[in-house]
Symmetry: C2
Subunit: 230 residues, 2 copies
DNA sequence: GCGGGGCAGCGTGTATGCACGAACGCGCAG
DNA sequence: CTGCGCGTTCGTGCATACACGCTGCCCCGC
């Protein structure tokens, strides 16, 4: 391979700004930084033991990810979750994942299929143990395997970005023990469809998994038609 | 509307970094800056009559859009078009537009439907006149109307970003006069499906319009399955 | 008592200086 | 003649300094 520069992955020694950006992103995704929290450049600089410059780079780097909102000359705050936009993002994410599953059903290599099966099996144990934290982490891996199986790096990029941006608002989603079991069942249906090479079924199953069926989609669309009623 | 901060649009007086970013982006999209061109910070600073700082901000701002690639400690260059990734992006864009068309078919307001129809009609004149430049500009507007009609700002965001990122490589696509006419015909089919409220048909038509039918999709996927043959 | 204008404090936008790291070319050894 | 090691040079990463714009408060006028 002739040395390919990944568009979002500079693997070499991260610069200080990137380190700060990663740290901030993790804090936001994990919910340690609550929406609306002002991100003072000088304060953050002191906190990270650096000057304002890397902090500024970090904030400007985080802005396009949607995790922070920056207003020119007015500073940056942890992104505030506009409920409408949140719904929009869920809808888009469902379709992105559906596309990934469809592609994976067609394009996954035998090794990747085995890997997916293995991951799914490992998650069964976590369900039995009721280990939500482990399942949550494994769930991320599971969906990443789908992206890899789709053999579409760009799709993986935006899907991952969307998923991450929604992460803070899905934190409690798996808390209910029954939801854990159902999630795993849905994964099973997805895996089955993919192994069968049935792209349409895989897409349909994952739409269900995200929790937005065709019906709710249309309902949302219809509701959006008269926003004047708000 | 209770003052919503757009995630990528700071409308107030743009800062110098943003101005430079916009200028660079335009130069790249228009093809005036060719892929691989090194973007020297100091040189750009002199060219824009500012210091390195705003230039740095501009470059870091452009990096996530994919128009430039920056390697830590090694500088930035105008993004190089990896053919495989290009194909991936076309595929994703087709699906994003399909989704937008489907949503638009369901959710467009009567006013928006009239606006779409009007835009389509105006473009007919450009086809007759063979005015490629005008058609290209109107085409962007046409697709933006679709995004607006979908009532999904997030979808519009990433679709616009993808479209812009592909723009430099579609420059000559409409040059053939026949392509102009066919493009307009395809638009007609899309508009018809949308006006009928037929989401599935609208999606299918726009997939055709982007030039990637279900068949080529599967073919690409199949081809991707054996990347070892490269 | 209440609303509007000015003032002060603060934080960001921009400029500049310094130091580390990387790319390039030369000279030397094999 | 070719391959390798080293020094030089360029450019980026980070720190610091300065100035403008914004925000909130206080005071004054009505």
């Amino acid at each position: 391979m002739p040395r390919r520069i990944a568009s979002t992955a500079p693997p070499p020694r991260p610069t200080r700004g990137e380190a700060i950006a990663a740290s901030l992103a993790e804090d936001i995704v994990a919910g340690r930084l609550k929406p609306g929290t002002p991100l003072d450049e000088l304060g953050l600089a002191r906190a990270y033991g650096s000057s304002r410059t890397p902090v500024r780079e970090a904030l400007r780097q985080l802005a396009p990810t949607g995790l922070v909102q920056v207003a020119p000359r007015r500073g940056a705050v942890v992104a505030i979750p506009d409920p409408q936009q949140l719904g929009e993002m869920f809808l888009v994410m469902a379709e992105l994942e559906a596309m990934a599953a469809a592609l994976a059903a067609l394009a996954m290599t035998p090794e990747q299929r085995r890997g997916l099966e293995r991951q799914h099996g490992a998650m069964a144990a976590m369900v039995r143990a009721g280990d939500v934290a482990a399942y949550r982490a494994a769930n991320v891996t599971f969906h990443h395997l789908l992206y890899l199986g789709a053999h579409n790096g760009y799709l993986g990029e935006i899907a991952t970005a969307t998923r991450r941006r929604l992460a803070p608002f899905r934190a409690a989603q798996l808390e209910a023990p029954d939801r854990l079991r159902r999630s795993h069942e849905e994964h099973g249906a997805i895996v089955t469809a993919i192994q069968r090479g049935d792209a349409a079924a895989a897409a349909a199953q994952i739409r269900t998994h995200i929790g937005l069926t065709e019906r709710t989609w249309e309902a949302m669309a219809r509701a959006l038609r008269q926003p004047s009623a708000a």
